[in-house]
């Protein structure tokens, strides 16, 4: 095993290379650009392909083309770029092509700024493009997970023939931490049952998302929903910190969870029974584990996020509003502070 000190954005490229990603297509945008830079540096010497696309739309459609050949392909961007890619994400989902997208979130709406935010939650976790589709969304909280979750994203994408997002923020993209490198590298095989790669074996195949017949289109949609239900049952992932005896649970993902963990420790020193529930998948939302907290008699939840309660909506849905769900949030590029969380814990725990 080897450890190196690397940037979060670099860790994404490391994960992709060891996962057997063949092609990277991207367009520059802060704070995701280092992913493009590192891909430019590292993909070609490994025989992999990297194209700086003319636009975000072109980048996602290059991914569509590469994915259609059955090879592993990815792109990376930040909020404004993800907005532009949504057409392609819908088509990828309609054609059931596996692909990986990394979103290093920045502040919005509009041009916003390049500070960290988590305001892309809805557009990434809820679909974002047209139609009844879902994407799997992984939420790393460290440089290690930037690598590991990117690696995992390719496996999930191939397994389910879905778009898988790695949803991170500007802090995770820009920060440096020690990274334990992957211990294996993957040589993916083309699935000739559906790929179209210019070979005799795949000549009969068609990659498309069009069904003119309404009933066919409906049946296809039901097929997708059945797949998403299977994903929801199989792929929930979360991490619990000091949750065993907690009355109050913080719910946070990404960098917000790192800050929340500090607040849990501080609150415990003050005698509050507080824990942290950290979703590692946002779709599927890890509702089974969260419901275990409620079933055990957990009294209140506090969502900590750098968005206006977008994740809190999913928390409420997950527990079917069976206990109060509070919100601590900062927006615009600002991070939630430990003291802001502590203040909310003090106020909430007294009610609990």
């Amino acid at each position: 095993m080897a450890t190196q000190l690397v940037k979060g954005n670099t860790a994404v490229v490391v994960g992709a290379l060891y996962a057997g990603c063949d092609s990277f297509f991207g367009y520059p945008i802060t704070p995701a650009s280092e992913i493009l830079h590192e891909a430019a540096k590292l993909f070609p010497p490994a025989g992999r392909r990297m194209v700086q696309a003319e636009s975000e739309e072109a980048a996602i459609n290059m991914v569509y083309g590469a994915a259609a050949t059955g090879r592993r392909a990815m792109t990376a961007s930040s909020g404004p770029g993800i907005s532009l890619k949504q057409e392609g994400v819908s088509y990828l989902s309609g054609a059931q092509l596996p692909a990986v997208i990394v979103d290093i979130m920045r502040a919005g709406p509009g041009l916003g700024n390049i500070g960290p935010e988590q305001g892309d939650y809805n557009q990434v976790v809820k679909g974002g493009g047209h139609g009844n589709y879902r994407t799997i969304v992984l939420a790393p909280a460290s440089v290690q997970e930037m690598c590991d979750f990117t690696f995992k994203a390719f496996e999930l994408a191939s397994k389910w023939r879905m778009v898988v997002y790695v949803l991170a923020d500007g802090v995770l993209g820009q920060m440096i931490e020690p990274l334990r490198f992957p211990e294996t590298s993957v040589a993916p095989e083309t699935d000739n049952r559906w790929a179209v790669d210019g070979t005799a074996a795949t000549r009969p195949n068609v990659v498309t998302s069009i069904f003119l017949n309404f009933d066919q289109q409906e049946a296809f949609n039901h097929e997708l929903q059945a797949k998403y239900a299977a994903v929801a049952a199989a792929e929930q992932a979360s991490e619990s910190y000091r949750m065993d005896d907690a009355d109050v649970a913080l719910v946070a993902y990404g960098i917000s969870a790192r800050i929340a963990q500090g607040a849990v420790d501080a609150a415990r020193q003050e005698g509050f029974k507080v824990g942290l529930f950290r979703p590692q998948t946002l779709f599927p939302f890890p509702q089974d584990a969260l419901n275990a907290f409620v079933a055990r008699g957990g009294k209140q939840l506090i969502c900590v996020e750098m968005s206006n309660g977008q994740m809190r909506d999913d928390v409420k849905l997950a527990i079917e509003c069976r206990c109060p769900v509070h919100l601590v949030c900062r927006l615009g590029g600002n991070l939630v502070t430990r003291d802001e969380i502590l203040a909310k814990i003090r106020a909430t725990a007294r009610q609990a």
Partner: protein, 473 residues
């Protein structure tokens, strides 16, 4: 059963279409898509390219091109064929990529993708159907609609003062350097049809040989949306369209171009390990040591003063010593000429937040940073600032030190290494439980490949460390 003329390269019946009329195409009577399909299909079959071919069906009337072509097929979003084709071609070197697009698709919504793929010289044969009108969506004006031509969205005829002039795609593309072959053809009489057949074959030969980008613009009749009978529509092509869009071969570099071969992916772990320099740049895994204190450091100064790399050196030293560590910078435009700062956390446990808001150590390289962050230093913590900043009222309870970092750097032999001098002073003052060896490894790794700089920086570090040790008390 309807009689179907057998055409090579196309299916005889159309099972991909579904429904009951499996021998009828979905195209309108008099439509010329069928002619173009047959010419492409026949060429693919004659050249034995069907196994290698990926046909890209656009959005438009040819969205169902995959009903007919006996080849692999990818149906794509409106206008994006060139980008999808890029993805396919780059990934599968041997694939013969055929993009089949109409005028709205290629010249309007997909103009950027079209020109950029042409300009990159992607290995794609593009067949561009120009019939001056949108088909599938119901007869709207296209970028290629002729001046005065009536469409659903130019009911009084195209007025160039309002909507500009017909876009000449073949000419536009032939302005670029990369395309190998650019031609414009029509089917308006038998002689022209034969020329069209030759052009189509040429474009596909270029793909067969992997030589690059080929573009064939095909002027075609659309009786339905031009609201004419077949005869009138054909006359419209020969008498009006061909006047606006002259036929001919605009470019043919195929004899001079060598095949473009893309690399094959190397999936071996050894390759990746070597590429990522794991043989030389590797640290031990962090060791859990809950008793060790967690130290938070912040470095700030002007962009260019090396404050970010100062932080990286410290984080590297921590990593080399088996500590848990994190580094987080101010990023973006701030780096370019403005102020820069970073936070480093060194700990015996996994690092929580990487943001440093309560610092055990602040290193300030300029006055604005000093004034901005001095209040964040914890009581009993260290505040180091560059001596040239001058007088500064130290906050109460903070150990404050003006460091002649620039002088130490000059004396050590590298006047640009004031940041290294600061690291040396820090190591002398405290060391944070990191052995000298860890600092040396960090300095070597941070300036890898620059042996002279590494040697100078080691001298600066050693000098500065002694300076710091003398002020430890």
């Amino acid at each position: 059963m309807e009689k179907v003329i057998e055409t090579r390269g196309l299916y005889k019946t159309f099972p991909r279409k579904g429904g009951s009329a499996l021998t009828a195409t979905h195209y309108c009577p008099g439509c010329e898509h069928g002619v173009l399909h047959k010419l492409i299909g026949e060429a693919l079959a004659d050249m034995e390219l069907q196994d290698r071919t990926v046909v890209i069906s656009p959005v438009g009337c040819a969205v169902f091109a995959y009903y007919y072509f006996d080849a692999g097929n990818v149906q794509v979003p409106h206008g994006r064929a060139a980008a999808v084709g890029t993805g396919i071609s780059r990934t599968k070197n041997q694939a013969v990529v055929v993009a089949y697009q109409g005028d709205g698709d290629l010249a309007s919504i997909g103009l950027n993708e079209t020109l950029q793929a042409a300009n990159r010289g992607e290995k794609i044969a593009v067949f561009f159907v120009n019939n001056t009108v949108y088909g599938m969506t119901g007869g709207q004006m296209a970028p290629t609609t002729l001046v005065g031509e009536k469409t659903e969205t130019s009911p009084d005829g195209r007025d160039p003062l309002q909507t500009g002039y017909p876009l000449h795609m073949a000419e536009l593309i032939s302005q670029l350097q990369a395309p190998v072959y650019v031609a414009r053809v029509s089917f308006s009489n038998m002689a022209k049809l034969k020329q069209a057949r030759q052009a189509i074959r040429k474009a596909l030969e270029i793909q067969r040989d992997g030589k690059g980008y080929a573009f064939v613009e095909v002027l075609m009749a659309c009786p339905t949306n031009q609201k004419m009978n077949v005869e009138a529509a054909t006359r419209f092509v020969s008498e009006q369209m061909e006047k606006e869009f002259p036929l001919g071969i605009l470019r043919d570099r195929s004899a001079d171009v060598r095949p473009l071969v893309r690399a094959e992916s190397d999936y071996r772990k050894e390759t990746l390990d070597r590429l990522l320099r794991l043989d030389v740049d590797r640290a031990p895994d962090a060791r859990l040591d809950p008793a060790a204190p967690t130290i938070q450091l912040k470095m700030a100064g002007f962009g260019g003063q090396g404050v970010l790399s100062m932080g990286v050196i410290l984080a590297r030293a921590a990593c080399a010593a088996g500590k848990f560590t994190s580094w987080y910078p101010s990023y973006g435009p701030e780096q370019r000429g403005g102020t820069a700062n970073c936070g480093v956390v060194v700990s015996g446990r996994p690092v929580g937040t990487p943001m440093v808001t309560e610092a055990d150590v602040l290193v300030a390289m300029n006055r604005p940073s000093l004034e901005k962050f001095a209040g964040e230093v914890k009581p009993g913590g260290w505040l180091l600032y560059a001596a040239e900043i001058g007088e500064f009222a130290a906050p109460a309870g903070v150990r404050t030190l003006a460091v002649p970092a620039l002088d130490l750097a000059k004396e050590g032999g590298n006047p640009r290494a004031a940041n290294v001098a600061m690291v040396g002073v820090l190591a002398g003052l405290d060391g944070f439980g990191l052995p000298d060896e860890a600092y040396r490894e960090a300095l070597a790794a941070n300036f890898a490949g620059k042996a002279k700089v590494v040697a100078q920086n080691e001298a600066v570090f050693a000098l500065a460390k002694r300076w710091g040790e003398a002020r430890r008390a």
